[in-house]
Symmetry: C2
Subunit: 127 residues, 2 copies
Amino acid sequence: MTAAMPDPAPPYDGRHLLADLHGCRGLDDVVLVEAALRAGAGAAGATILEIRLHAFGPGLGVTGVALLAESHISIHSWPEYGYAALDIFLCGRRHDPAAALSAIAERLDAAEVRETMIARGYGLPNP
Amino acid sequence: MTAAMPDPAPPYDGRHLLADLHGCRGLDDVVLVEAALRAGAGAAGATILEIRLHAFGPGLGVTGVALLAESHISIHSWPEYGYAALDIFLCGRRHDPAAALSAIAERLDAAEVRETMIARGYGLPNP
């Protein structure tokens, strides 16, 4: 009998959750958006390296990112449409992008969320 | 005859290019990665608000983002696999995510690029 082969390195298990949030409130409020990103990272069990946000002015959008030890959460908002484009990219199996999305959508009072999950990583088979 | 209706607001035309870069070199080199992000933003015709990068140490990955007036370019690298996960999210029709990807892939000496383009925005029809 042949010796059992050692397990190969586990494939990289990155999950990238793209979410379009509609019917939101407070999308020009950089303090609220930062609180939402912090809540999302916390709900996912992720570690924040830093949060950087840029507010384009009263009534205008916010663009920013929470850089994480496990990748990132980004947001770009259009308050005039109640719309925010959210990305939650988490590497590793321990972290929960869906929990992050729920926490953020709740903070931004989203009426509708459309989401797409994309697998990312070096271990994915050829398409 | 009825009067012509005015054109509705043009649908938001966000393009989010997800790219997985394989066979790259220099992915632990934060200076190289920053130069690649700058080259990408420049090639796209985008305006950089700031670039934030975190290097996890020699031989280890870099995580970071170029925050743009037109959304963002993010990167997460695994130099031990020659792999980088790149996102190029550009709102507006004037900016060219494919040009950004080409510039970045060239700087990182990528041997293989797998890409997926996702439409984002408030103007998209219901799925």
